[in-house]
């Protein structure tokens, strides 16, 4: 079974690769282009994450490439779909490194996928294969023994969750329930909730799980009932957007009005998009009392130069994943936290590549990255890396839905019971 899935994934990856890398051939380092290898969910319930992350990154790369590239070399992304499943992610990684000979790995999505492919980085350490800016706040790639092969830009889930709890506990919210995906991601989040609550001498009063890949149409009423029975006054979700949206819908359908907090991985717009659609279909507002933690600022903040560039380039280029990786029924979001994160990731990566001169080599990547100190990314937060610090930003942002749109949380008192 595993083998079959592996083969399917490989076949899929190879088909996608043919389309994705059409003009590109030869090794990323010695060829004209600098090829970035990406494995993410372009299909399935979490496809919005992969697609939007790719679009955001390509918006900047398009800009860079149009301006002549990095020292005259265009930067391209070779992407494969892993469907948010670990085994295809591993197969894609092997393919990217061994066959596509990419310069570095970039823009991976998801904890279970990244957590499982990390050992490959150890195996490929003699080739200096690094993973840049995965779309996950999980701990494994931030801790030994793999932290040295990975560079993160975003804050960790622990930081996001701690941020939520640190804001809510002073508002006399004490009864936290956790709804989480029963895998490395969700369990990491669960652990983060436990640790954060521990800081306040609290413990979670209930927990409910769901299986990865649960679609929006599935009923999550049992999970709602478990947490409601535990009399939670706040729910923290550590999941993917489809299941979290379903949980929110079922909670509200059950008449349960507790604040439900989600973390950045939900891709707020994807979550919101499902809820708005459900709201329209059922004439019920499913977007109330939602709280999200983000690792990038709101794309409404036009005061930030990077945001202005982001919006401009997204509008200008409206990038799309190539061929198969762009499902026909998927409607791209004009802007989103995810595409913004992809955009910022690309911006930072290009800055690093530029530092490496005309002939970048993989072996120079770590040094180039770790020498970034207080780099101005355009979001008002300086980014620094060191050999013992492989996470560029610790910043966590909070947003909520107002009138169908995510807006930054400005008034926390609203969230008091």
């Amino acid at each position: 079974m595993n083998r079959r899935r592996f083969l399917t994934a490989t076949a899929l990856g190879s088909a996608a690769g043919l389309l994705a890398a059409s003009p590109l051939s030869g090794p990323g380092r010695s060829g004209k282009e600098i090829v970035l290898g990406m494995s993410a969910a372009f299909k399935g319930p979490s496809r919005g994450l992969g697609i939007e992350l790719y679009r955001g990154a390509m918006a900047w790369l398009e800009q860079v490439n149009r301006a002549g590239g990095v020292h005259g070399r265009p930067v391209v992304i070779k992407a494969y779909d892993d469907g948010y499943d670990p085994l295809p992610a591993i197969a894609n990684t092997i393919r990217l490194v061994e066959e596509d000979n990419v310069f570095l790995l970039f823009g991976y999505v998801g904890t279970p996928t990244v957590t499982r492919m990390l050992p490959l980085l150890k195996i490929y350490s003699d080739r200096s294969i690094f993973l840049y800016f995965p779309f996950t706040g999980a701990q494994p790639q931030r801790r030994p023994p793999y932290e040295r092969f990975v560079f993160n830009l975003r804050a960790s889930y622990q930081q996001e969750i701690a941020g939520l709890i640190d804001h809510l506990v002073p508002l006399r919210r004490r009864r936290f329930g956790v709804f989480y995906q029963i895998d490395a991601y969700g369990r990491g989040g669960w652990d983060a909730v436990r640790v954060a609550l521990g800081q306040h001498k609290l413990s979670m009063i209930g927990e409910a799980t769901y299986r990865r890949g649960t679609p929006f149409m599935a009923s999550l009423r049992p999970q709602v009932d478990i947490l409601r029975k535990a009399e939670a006054d706040t729910v923290i979700c550590v999941g993917a957007y489809a299941a979290c949206a379903a949980f929110i819908r079922d909670a509200r359908d059950a008449g349960w009005e507790v604040p439900i907090a989600n973390i950045s991985f939900v891709g707020s717009e994807s979550l919101l998009s499902l809820l708005r659609q459900a709201s329209r279909e059922r004439s019920e507002d499913y977007t109330r009392r939602l709280l999200n933690s983000e690792v990038v600022p709101s794309y409404d903040r036009s005061d930030l130069p990077a945001i202005r560039q982001f919006r401009e380039m997204m509008e200008r280029y409206d990038p799309r994943p190539p061929g198969e990786l762009m499902p026909e029924d998927y409607k791209p979001l004009p802007y989103s936290y995810v595409s913004l994160e992809g955009f910022l990731n690309a911006r930072l990566l290009v800055a690093i590549l530029e530092k490496m001169g005309k002939s970048p080599i993989r072996e120079g990547l770590a040094a180039a990255t770790e020498s970034l100190d207080n780099f101005e990314l355009g979001i008002d937060v300086p980014v620094s890396f060191r050999s013992d610090r492989h996470q560029g930003s610790d910043e966590v942002y909070f947003s909520t839905v107002e009138q169908g749109h995510f807006v930054p949380v400005t008034d926390w008192k609203r969230w008091a019971p």
Binding site: M1, P112, A184, R187, G188, E207
Partner: protein
């Protein structure tokens, strides 16, 4: 009687065997699979639990729960694994795979420094085989791996259903094959049977002309049977034809024979009629003969008896005349008187003989056992004078006892021996008397060396008063052999002579052998 067709029987046997096979096979394979899977699941669960326990030590000690979770997550991919849970020694859950929550049942499992397998029922989830393995002897925690029993059950069901489906397919296939074979075998057999019945009903022609003989072209046993039947039918037809021909011929012959027989019959009837007629005539003749014989006998007796008286008177007076007047008249008278005396004496002898002859039939004694030897001896004694005179030698062999009139039989011996003495040649007479037993009768012989008899006289010598010689040559009246013949015939025998002149004569007579000795 309604026949229970072969195909239906075979079908029922087939169905029964299949049903039994299906049931046995389903049950046994269910049991086998259940056992196998349980064992397999236990060892699989144990392998996973101990595997996780061994490999998770450092991860739990030095890393985060995400990695522990990632580690256990991958085992859910393995068939049969329902859940994996890692707990701290105190029971705090480090990682698990339950949705929507960790059931209470798995929290309460007891701790052991050994890997423990136990059955576990979790409300709402089902039955599981829980394998609990300690991590670092329980210092770090425990790994629980749950193997889904439902999986075993469904695998069992699936296997059973697959088995049954397979068997059903085989059954249907078998049914189809059987039907085909039946069509190949039973249908021709039915045809053959029907036509064998036609045959039995006596119309081999219609049976032979049927299209069923197409079956005869087959190379299998049915073909053999059909050919054999066809051969039989041909044979039968031929035989019937032959039989009919033979029958016709026979009829013609019978008619012929009947006609012949009728003719013969008519002839025979005619013959019978004639024979009856002649028999009647013979009977009448015999009766007449008997009557005339009796008359003759009566006549002879009366004549001889009544003639005696005047004769006696005549001879008495002639004797007186001769005595008193001899030499007194003349010579001529004496000679004439002498002639009368001789004649009367001869006449007296004749009359006595005749009387004697007639008495054989009328005064015969009833037959009693008689010793012929003794009778012969009496006869020889009676002839003593003549024997001595002639110097004859009489040789008498052993003679049997027979049922006879002793007096008469003595007379026979005496007459025959007397004749032998009388008619002797120049040499002294030699007489042999013997008897020989033949089927149903005794044959006696009296042989002499006398003058013999010419064959032409062999019959005549037995006639009354028949004489071949003159009285001067051989005295006698010629009654002796006639008397013998009459006596022997009265005894139911016969008498004859074999002789040639000068060579002696042998008289034979027979007497019925009534087992007297």
């Amino acid at each position: 009687m309604k026949t229970f067709s072969l195909s239906r029987k075979v079908f029922m046997a087939f169905a029964l065997v299949f049903a039994a096979t299906m049931a046995v096979e389903a049950v046994s394979s269910a049991w086998r699979i259940s056992q196998n899977l349980s064992a397999q699941y236990t060892s699989k669960g144990t392998a996973i639990a101990t595997g996780i326990a061994t490999s998770s030590v450092e991860i739990i000690l030095f890393r985060d729960l995400s990695t522990v979770q990632a580690l256990i997550d991958q085992y859910l991919e393995i068939e049969g694994v329902a859940y994996v849970m890692v707990v701290e020694p105190q029971g705090e859950v480090l990682a698990h795979t339950f949705t929507p929550e960790v059931p209470d049942e798995v929290r309460g499992l007891e701790r052991s420094s050994q890997t423990v397998t136990q059955d576990l029922h979790i409300a709402g989830l089902g039955d599981f085989l829980n394998v609990k393995s300690p991590i670092l002897a329980g210092k770090i925690g425990y790994v629980n791996v749950g193997m889904d029993r439902k999986h075993i059950q469904s695998a069992v069901w699936e296997a059973c259903l697959r088995q049954i489906a397979l068997l059903l397919v085989m059954f249907l296939l078998g049914l189809f094959l059987m039907r085909w074979l039946m069509y190949q075998i039973v249908d021709p057999l039915n045809h053959l049977t029907r036509h064998a019945k036609l045959l039995a009903a006596g119309s081999p022609g219609s049976a032979a002309s049927s299209d069923v003989w197409i079956a005869a072209s087959r190379t299998d046993e049915v073909g053999q049977l059909a050919r054999a039947l066809r051969h039989m039918v041909d044979e039968l037809s031929q035989r019937e034809e032959e039989l009919r021909k033979a029958h016709d011929e026979l009829e013609v012959r019978v008619q012929e024979r009947t006609a012949e027989l009728q003719q013969v019959n008519a002839r025979l009837q005619e013959e019978v009629r004639q024979r009856t007629r002649s028999e009647e005539r013979q009977k009448r003749l015999a009766e007449e003969l008997l009557r005339s014989n009796n008359d003759l006998e009566q006549f002879a007796y009366i004549a001889s008896h009544d003639l005696q008286e005047p004769l006696r008177m005549m001879s008495s007076y002639v004797d007186l005349l001769a005595d008193r007047y001899r030499g007194q008249i003349d010579e001529k008278a004496d000679r004439w008187i002498g002639f009368v005396v001789d004649a009367s004496a001869r006449m007296k002898q004749l009359i006595n003989d005749l009387l004697e002859y007639s008495r054989v039939g009328r005064r015969g004694k009833p037959f009693e056992p008689a010793d012929c030897g003794a009778l012969c001896a009496t006869a020889i004694t009676n002839l003593g004078h003549a024997i001595r005179e002639s110097g004859a030698r009489i040789i008498c062999g052993p003679l049997p006892k027979v049922a006879a009139d002793a007096t008469q039989l003595t007379q026979v011996f005496q007459n025959l021996i007397g004749n032998a003495l009388k008619y002797h040649g120049p040499s002294p007479p030699e007489v042999h008397i013997a008897a020989d037993r033949q089927p149903g009768q005794w044959v006696f012989l009296v042989r002499d060396n006398g003058i013999g008899i010419a064959p032409e006289h062999a019959e005549r010598i037995f006639e009354l008063f028949r004489r071949l010689h003159s009285r001067q040559e051989y005295p006698g009246t010629g009654i002796g052999l006639t008397l013998c013949k009459r006596i022997i015939e009265r005894h139911g025998g016969r008498i004859w002579v074999e002789s040639r002149p000068g060579e002696g004569a042998t008289f034979f007579f027979t007497l019925p052998d009534r087992g007297g000795d």
